[in-house]
Symmetry: C2
Subunit: 143 residues, 2 copies
DNA sequence: CCGAATTGTAATTTTAAAAATTACATCTAA
DNA sequence: TTAGATGTAATTTTTAAAATTACAATTCGG
């Protein structure tokens, strides 16, 4: 699985809430309109962000708001909130190498070793970008 | 799109050819057996590796062999041979943000800016692992 | 306390992407 | 010339992502 569009939708919503959360009641309906996806998708994303301590979502009434400063919300936190094993699933393994072949028997162990390095680098990279950076970029863009 | 299983299958095949290419005629049929996928998939992967200057595939007769030293074949070269825009497709963008919303209008530009950093880091990481490393790991694993 | 507006979530359907299969033309060397 | 390969297009199957439907639970103004 790639890093799905959910991550981009989540960033979109968090940015929206950060910028306009005080002047608009940020409901799943409103954010569905803004992102162009459906309200159930938004609620499912919010549910995951809530569990991860990123977002406060008052049930019943609308008006989600950030649970912590934007500088503490990295892309890594967002991605793993939405899909805990995102890095493991990022690079696909062929599921049925032959046990009759010496390469087939050890390929998964060998690849895991190589991919582990890629995953560690990717984690570091995803940690290095925060919602704060994205907010700054949005402001520059609005210039 | 994630980095598909094609990349893992390609590494499997290249490792096989590097280790046993001189004592076995490495046909698409044989590698299909070893990897557990079908011969057409192998031929399609070989076709891409051939165009990228990684593999020599004599048409008609079997017996593919490496076109350059294992130390020059990085995971990045393999991945991009198989799917040129692999990094661009790695993180999904939601396709229809609303043009009526200020966030909706600029979200793609803002995300592209953030994701570009992730992609650059990922490229560097994928470049840092070569078939030579994987061959070494295979030998360690064999004891 | 009622009811409109909202969140929470399970179940289902639709859509899109990955992989396998089929088919057949082309190439090579014995 | 023929058996055993590769090359590739077209189709089908399988799997994963996303949308939709449905409805229970929550909140708060009146």
């Amino acid at each position: 699985m790639r890093i799905s569009t959910k991550c981009s939708i989540a960033v979109h919503c968090l940015l929206f809430i950060n910028e306009y959360g005080n002047i608009k009641k940020t409901t799943s309906e409103l954010l569905a309109l803004s992102t162009g996806c459906n309200p159930v998708m938004i609620r499912s994303i919010f549910s995951a962000l809530k569990k991860a301590g990123i977002l406060i979502v008052p049930p019943g009434t609308g008006g989600a708001r950030l649970a912590c400063p934007a500088s503490e919300i990295s892309l890594y936190r967002i991605c793993t909130a939405l899909e805990p094993n995102v890095l493991e699933k990022m690079i696909g393994l062929h599921p049925f190498p032959s046990a009759l072949c010496p390469i087939g028997r050890s390929i998964h162990a060998v690849l895991d070793n190589a991919y582990e390095k890629i995953r560690a680098d990717m984690q570091k990279s995803l940690r290095s970008v925060t919602l704060e950076d994205i907010v700054r970029q949005y402001h520059n863009n609005q210039g």
